[in-house]
């Protein structure tokens, strides 16, 4: 396993896989900005001496996120077997796509020591209008809120499946006014973290502290997010497939389930 030291290595890797001219299968969808952050944080590694396959590893304290670029499913199968036999770390894998795209890839990993963990469905909706949302406790997070929000994320969200941000990623969202909080006195009772890129918005994290969940704070936060993103043509987020209550609530706001899933598989450490 080698450390990735510059972004061009990723592009060269993609080229080397595509040069097989057999196909291109991947779950490595990071932007250049994200990849460069992982490189600067020294957490991105690769295993590239495999025939037609490169594995990328994003290391966290407790486990490794695995990404692959493969020229064919046959080559991915061989490489996965090698990985499974030679690496004993706890590994988490996301496979994103339609059920038809996911199934053959999922089977390769399930046959090699990975277990199904959970699955997310993508929901989205088109243009909308919304009334102004005002509440004295709703505000945009500032730099001072970074640490408490980071702690809430890591205390309440599942790090295995929810791709929790690094501190610099959270700071970046806060710097770009992409975090709405609900604050009483000095306590943050809830927050929404989102991305707004041109005509598209992404709801990344939506949270209300358990003891305040009967006060409609979640609804206020969500409506504030909708107001800020009013005018976008598409709003997207991912929800756990089996969270029927949340899906029902989102449908109430006009969201529809897309045929796009994110399967999370885990291989426990040996």
């Amino acid at each position: 396993m080698k450390k990735v030291s510059k972004y061009d290595e990723i592009l060269e890797g993609i080229k080397s896989i595509k040069d097989f001219r057999e196909g291109y299968f991947t779950n490595f969808f990071f932007s250049q900005e994200q990849i460069e952050l992982y490189i600067s944080e020294d957490i991105l590694y690769k295993l590239d001496n495999l025939n037609g396959v490169i594995f990328y590893f994003k290391k966290t304290t407790d486990f490794i996120n695995l990404y692959f670029c493969a020229s064919s499913l046959k080559n991915l199968k061989k490489a996965t077997k090698f990985l499974s036999n030679n690496y004993s770390d706890k590994i988490v894998l996301d496979i994103v796509g339609t059920d038809k795209m996911i199934e053959p890839i999922r089977n390769i990993f399930l046959d090699n020591g990975f277990k199904f963990y959970t699955s997310f469905t993508r929901m989205s909706r088109g243009e909308y209008t919304i009334d102004e949302v005002s509440d004295i406790n709703l505000c945009i997070a500032t730099e001072d809120d970074t640490n408490p929000i980071y702690e809430l994320l890591y205390n309440y969200f599942d790090p295995l499946s929810e791709q929790l941000p690094l501190m610099p990623e959270l700071s970046n969202w806060i710097r770009n006014n992409r975090v709405i909080i609900y604050r009483e006195k000095t306590n943050i009772l809830g927050f929404v973290i989102f991305d707004l890129i041109g005509l598209k918005s992404y709801l990344r994290y939506w949270f209300v502290s358990p003891e305040y969940r009967d006060r409609k704070i979640g609804s206020l936060l969500l409506r504030k997010f909708f107001k800020i993103c009013e005018g976008t043509k598409k709003q997207i987020f991912w929800v756990i497939d089996t969270n029927y209550n949340a899906i029902k609530r989102y449908k109430h706001y006009g969201f529809m389930e897309e045929p796009m899933h994110d399967n999370i598989l885990i291989k426990k450490e040996k």
Binding site: K15, Y24, F29, G126, K200, K234
Partner: protein, 76 residues
Amino acid sequence: MKDKVLEILTEIQPDFDFKQNINFIEEGMLDSFDIVNLVTKLDEEFGISIDGMDIIPENFYSVDSIVNLLKKNDVE
């Protein structure tokens, strides 16, 4: 070729109008996930293999930049 590119873009992201003269990346019409899907579909449709070094945002800003990328791959 331009019509085919528009057809593929619309298939990937049916919610957007790719005939508009705007930057698809800056406007969020294509993200990194869409670009990977787009490259796979362009490879299949035109029987080419777009170079990994060319999978950079600048080559996907507009229909014209995608057409130029295809021309670079000898698609006529």
